[in-house]
Amino acid sequence: MSKHAAINRFGRSANPAFTKNFTSSFDSIPISERMTLDGAVNKTGILLGLCFAGAFVGWNIPVLAIPSAIIGLILALVTIFRSPSKAGSTAPLYALVQGIFLGGITLMFESQFDGIAIQAIGLTFGILASLLVCYKSGLILPTENFRLMLGAAIGGIMILYLINFVMSFFGSTLSFLTSNSLMSIGFSFAIIAVASFTLVLDFDFIEEGAEKGMPKYMEWYGAFSLMVTLIWLYLEILRLLAKIRSR
């Protein structure tokens, strides 16, 4: 019996979920309203500019750091889970408030370790550029397994952060996360490696979105995801440098 017997017997389905027009609905988007590489990169530039502006405010008014971190977390969760299509309005706000948080936290580290901020900024952008070269040249090829492994690693790290956060209320912490022991420094290197490889997934997301002509708002969403990873990477580098210099 033919594998197409059902179609031969009952005819083609009228269910719109199974029609070609549905599966390729993005074809109907006008070219001017599709995501492009240029657009996503320009929007990343805007978000970086806003982040630096926010950092200037946070550096000068460090008491705003903690409220900004909370607002930033809420904005990130809203953008990811509620309305990716509204990323055009939430992503700039997220970059601004996270900038204020980073400014405050950087001032705190800088007051303890002179020159640590510029080192962390240099290393963050250095990793960003070198991984972009690796991605564009095809030296690193992200696959579904690569994404699954990174997802599992990020999930594990987030659980550890959460446990550490809860423990801190009882006057205790996970020493391999917070101390300046060799194990803690090694663990920080591993987290930085995971954060760095997450950048590759962000590059691939933007490249694929532009290639498949996703809607324009995905430019903002791609830039937002790149910012989230960059901010995480910067904070981890800052912590690693502080651990090394406090030894």
């Binding site: 510029i118 090829l141 992200p142 979105g209 498949k212």
Partner: protein, 62 residues
């Protein structure tokens, strides 16, 4: 001196990022069959449109 080196690294890296990010990735990156498929394949045709072919093993069933 340390600050100048890391400051230069930051500026040059940002410049490289904004220049390179607008360039399309290499064919080695784009033309492979194990890429992550987040948005579905808009060029794929499905069986209902009648563009797929009968597989040879079907002949054994007759």
């Amino acid at each position: 001196m340390n600050s100048i080196v890391f400051g230069l690294l930051a500026v040059l890296s940002l410049y490289a990022f904004f220049k390179l990010a607008k360039v399309k990735a290499s064919s080695k990156q784009l033309n492979r069959n194990n890429r992550i498929n987040r948005f579905g394949d808009k060029n794929s045709d499905n069986i209902i449109e009648g563009e797929s072919e009968e597989v040879v093993e079907d002949n054994d069933d007759k």
